[in-house]
Symmetry: C2
Subunit: 109 residues, 2 copies
């Protein structure tokens, strides 16, 4: 078919998948890194820095925003994007739970 069967998974699994998908693109990783380093937080600057067209950056920002990972504040004619602290911390926690649940011991092969 081609459509993910979200109904057979838990809300946690689906939400984690959605947020990871938002990060799982090199351009969006680069955008997040730039925002965090405060090198650039507005669309046009990011487009210049990363070498992608303005509409492309705008779309990536939209996806990150839809996933709740960043927030935008209107500043005159431009928009300043930055990390959404709660979602960021929550995702970090969820990932830690997943990654820490594995101990080298319980490997069966």
């Amino acid at each position: 078919m081609g459509i993910t069967k979200t109904e057979i998974f838990t809300d946690e699994q689906n939400k984690l998948a959605v947020q990871l998908k938002a990060i799982a693109h090199p351009a969006r990783i680069a955008i997040l890194q730039h925002i965090i380093a405060a090198k650039a937080c507005i669309c046009g600057d990011l487009a210049d820095e990363l070498g992608l067209a303005q509409p492309t950056i705008s779309q990536h920002l939209k996806e990150l925003k839809n996933a709740g990972l960043i927030q935008g504040t209107i500043e005159g004619v431009s928009v300043c994007y930055c990390i959404e602290p709660k979602a960021w911390a929550n995702l970090q926690k969820e990932l830690n739970v997943l990654f820490s649940s594995y101990k080298d011991l319980n490997s069966c092969c």
Copy 2:
């Protein structure tokens, strides 16, 4: 176009994106959780447990393996899949670097 411009990003950004993409699907999250909890580590069992067809699980396992996150050991007629410890630890580290690089202080908005 529709093709990611990997050449304008660093190897680290691209690799991280690939591995995150591998995890960024509810079925693959569920598979990893099952493998870690040692509830099931063979294709058929996972198919039964998760309610997806055997070829579908096989494809998801292949993607996780391609990303280097799991490894498969042939055990008679079946294959036991488990976490690839090094890649797992490395990804955990990379994610920690990314997530920890953000401090609530340096938000510009």
